[in-house]
């Protein structure tokens, strides 16, 4: 199991190594990162989402990533929540690439039955792997310093309007704040609320 700090370090090392991931270029252009920096194939798979419930899936030989065909066809025109979801899904798959590739390869899968078991269970570590890939995706898409800057800029207005004690414990204000910040990063507001907690940005009411 990897700690959040370990995952963050991997993300920040990647950010240092690739200009496409610099914080000056938010929301991140993950399609360019995947194709041009990592040289992975993005392969449209019709029905990936409808039939299997996934927007994206990294290939077992890590040469590419499947993308739901319907989304892929509209990749230049999708906006809003659909694009945010695709962005998070690709970032999540990159999490598997950078965090779990060796573990997958060490499982030495040689038969379809073994692969089916792996996909369902990940050798009993599915929840752990998914959590780690989500943490990777969140940190990648929402760089902590930029999030902190966005939040700090909103503080005086929140203090003035509500008073510190009132807004800190108010879930509605927290959601609204996340909604205002989310477009900067191209993610769902819930992803911002998660980063508030994980990065210790939203003050504890206690």
């Amino acid at each position: 199991m990897r700690t959040n700090s370990e995952i963050w370090e991997i993300v920040e090392n990647l950010r240092c190594a690739h200009a496409t991931l610099k914080v000056e270029q938010l929301p991140l252009d993950l399609i360019s990162f995947v194709e041009l920096d990592l040289r992975l194939d993005l392969i449209p798979y019709d029905g990936l989402k409808n039939d299997f419930g996934a927007d994206a899936a990294i290939l077992a030989d890590f040469s590419g990533c499947y993308i739901d065909g319907e989304v892929f066809d509209r990749i230049d025109v999708v906006r809003g929540s659909q694009l945010n979801r695709l962005r998070f899904s690709i970032a999540h798959e990159l999490g598997h690439l950078f965090l779990h590739r060796e573990l997958f390869e060490s499982a030495n899968i040689r038969t379809p039955d073994h692969l089916l078991d792996w996909l369902n269970e990940h050798d009993g570590r599915k929840y752990e792997f998914e959590r780690e890939a989500n943490e990777f995706a969140g940190r990648l898409l929402v760089p902590v310093e930029t999030l902190r800057e966005c939040f700090d800029r909103m503080l005086p207005a929140m203090d003035g309007k509500y008073g510190r004690h009132a807004w800190v414990s108010n879930a509605e204000i927290r959601s609204k704040t996340a909604e205002l910040i989310a477009p900067r990063f191209g993610v769902h507001p819930i992803a911002i609320e998660t980063r508030f907690d994980r990065e210790g940005i939203w003050p504890s009411p206690f």
């Binding site: 399609i31 360019s32 194709e35 041009l36 040289r39 194939d41 993005l42 392969i43 449209p44 798979y45 019709d46 029905g47 990936l48 989402k49 039939d51 299997f52 419930g53 996934a54 927007d55 994206a56 899936a57 990294i58 290939l59 077992a60 030989d61 890590f62 499947y66 065909g69 892929f72 066809d73 990749i75 230049d76 899904s89 999540h92 798959e93 598997h96 779990h100 590739r101 997958f104 899968i109 040689r110 038969t111 379809p112 692969l115 089916l116 996909l119 369902n120 990940h122 792997f129 998914e130 890939a133």
Partner: protein, 123 residues
């Protein structure tokens, strides 16, 4: 760089030119799903001289590179694509699945998934 396959050369030059698959296909008016298969060597390259000319112009290939591309295309068109072996198919399956519905996959789902993957990697 000397290439041995048409798809590899195109992908390499496209990346050097800073174009994603979709942006390249938009500029050349090619279907991205088909072009993805061409770059991965699943189906044969086009033999339309006008299309090849557009690609050469877009990627800024030199005369020598254009000749190399043409040679590689001719070789690829003459090859009979091989069927995917079992281990090759497994290598093209997803390694992980972020199942939005949170479900596990039954054997029927898995076989359907495998069948879909196979179609993407054979002509």
């Amino acid at each position: 760089m000397q290439h041995t396959k048409f798809g590899e050369m195109i992908k390499d030059r496209r990346i050097v030119a800073g174009m994603t698959l979709r942006s390249f296909c938009r500029e050349t008016a090619i279907d991205p799903s088909n072009w993805s298969k061409i770059e991965r060597g699943v189906i044969a390259p086009p033999d339309d001289p006008e299309l090849i000319g557009r690609i050469v112009g877009l990627l800024g290939l030199s005369g020598a590179e254009e000749t190399e591309l043409g040679d590689l295309a001719a070789i690829a068109r003459g090859q009979i694509p091989a069927d995917l072996k079992d281990e090759e198919l497994l290598a093209k399956m997803p390694a992980f699945f972020r199942a939005i519905r949170g479900q596990t996959y039954a054997r029927d789902d898995f076989e359907k998934l495998m069948s879909g993957v196979e179609k993407l990697h054979k002509p």
